[in-house]
Amino acid sequence: MAVNPKKLRPYDQPPRVRRPIIPAGPDNAATAFLVAALVWFLLATGIGLLWVGMQLFPDVLRMSLEMPSFSGVITFEFNSGTVGSGFWNSLVYGWLGNAGLGAIFFITPRLLGRRLADEGMASMSAMVWNIGLLAGLTAIYMPQVAASGALMEFPLPVDGVLVLALLLANDSFWRTLLSARDEPAYVSIWYFGVALAAFTGLYGLATLAPLLGLPDAAAALANGFYGRAIETLWVTGVAVGTLYYLVPRATGNPLYSWGLAMLAWILWLGLATLSPIGALVDVSVPFAVTQIGHVSTLLLVVPAFLVVANLLQTITGRWSLILSPGTIPFAVVAVSFLAATALLEAIGALGSVRALIGGTEWGVGVRLFALLGTGSLAFLALADHAFPRLLRRDWRGTLLAEATLWSAFAGTALAGLALMAGGIVHGSMRLQGAPPDEIAGPVFWFQLVAGAGVSLVALAAAIALLSVFLMYTSARRADYAVVGEPAPAAGT
């Protein structure tokens, strides 16, 4: 029964407003994913800093905690191994996973012109995903329950929770897409579809793999394939899809070429799927098959170059935006890292180069370029564009945006280049027959520089989070268009 507040007597209480446990308003899911992403970004880079410190001073920073519980004593191990796992997992699943899903749920409704098919389901996926991540990240430090395999250290029940979250996200995304059949979807949606399906499929299969009782060699090969595929199909896919949305939106220009975008998408789809085969290095795998993976990695330069060319041509006429703080400088730096990563990975796929840098710090440096460079800068560009719209704030955080951009760019470049240079020095000294003790000396200094780089990225994460906090608490309210609702006179 409706109550008129004007007729309430003094001792009456106004009717309570019922808030749903799972928010289902427009953009709730995107907001939840993106806010969580920034928190994970800060956490991941903080753990990364600790990891670098542990590699430099393993004896000083190692820690072991024992806590009594109902089922006995629980041990938490904080050593270079567990902290390293914590860094990669929180970076890939916490920061890039949340940001990627947030990008999908922010951009898809705006491109299709309709609200998500089930916003509540998408919001629930954000909650389930982050609860699962918290449990998984805690379990990594518990040798009794942690599983094995790079990026697959979470225990089986946690993997199940994360797969459930991904299935919920898929449900919302695909139902939204299938309800919009009026015209071919924009290229970002094509990237998102493949990336989300690949992420879910790969994570699901990787979760099931231990149940199959694979031999050690097969399990190690599958794990190598998984790690590479997550980078090429999920992180790169969502980052490129996001950039294809942001650059035309922020410049106000149309996309340079639809045909070029679709050609790059087809090439990326084929080559990014084949590239992880290069990780299958074992006598049980024919050499020709592994070579197909390496050649695919080499050829990935082509779609990367086509994407870069298309986006830079799109900016034509609005180059001055690069000099002003905002989305475009972030996007241009992300595009630069995309090109650099593709080139470096291609160089690393050459047999003679692999012989030099195999098993050194080079691989970690290139991976930082891909994850912290392309991925992080693309999602920071999205954060710059999306948060004022999600929080409905009139925000001009120019100084903070500049500080975030330069810290993230300088930190990633410094850490990545230092590790790559350290890898080359390591490999060269190894080929000259230098003993390990002699190699460790110079490599130490490169790791030290990499640590400084990671600390700059951590600073960028802190500033980005502070910027969102200040935007929410101190900026004036502003109206932005909401998908599926009457539009005010503002941008989308």
Partner: protein
Amino acid sequence: MTVHTPIESRTRGIPRWALGLTGIAFVAGAIFLATNLGGANPPIIGTPVPSGGVPLDAVGIIRAAGCQACHGPDLAGQGDFPNLHGVKDGPVSENLQQLGADYPEDWANLWIAGTDPAVADLGRGGMPPFGTTLSPEEIAAVVEHLKSLP
């Protein structure tokens, strides 16, 4: 009115230069593949020698993995943590004797990795399963180094 502002494109077709570039790159890739099919992959497990033909930096791996924090700076053991200088003669710890008997060649690799079902029921006493963070080649390099200790 609902918000639906699709992103337009300046042109629909594929620029000729892009088709040409793609064609040239794929022809070059095919030639590269055809001329690089000879060879064999190295084994992924039990090989301390990477493709470069030089042993991995076992000391660096041991230092980075934090082995010395428990087993002592010279790996000679401290407190409850065993002396690793005896690895070449088989397991020192009581709970690893059966593992050593069942897998006389690989017991140390299996134990350090901690991911094989063969060691699933053995109490690890706080030792992390390094199979989650080190590659089989790195573990094999560490075992080779430990076996070389006097």
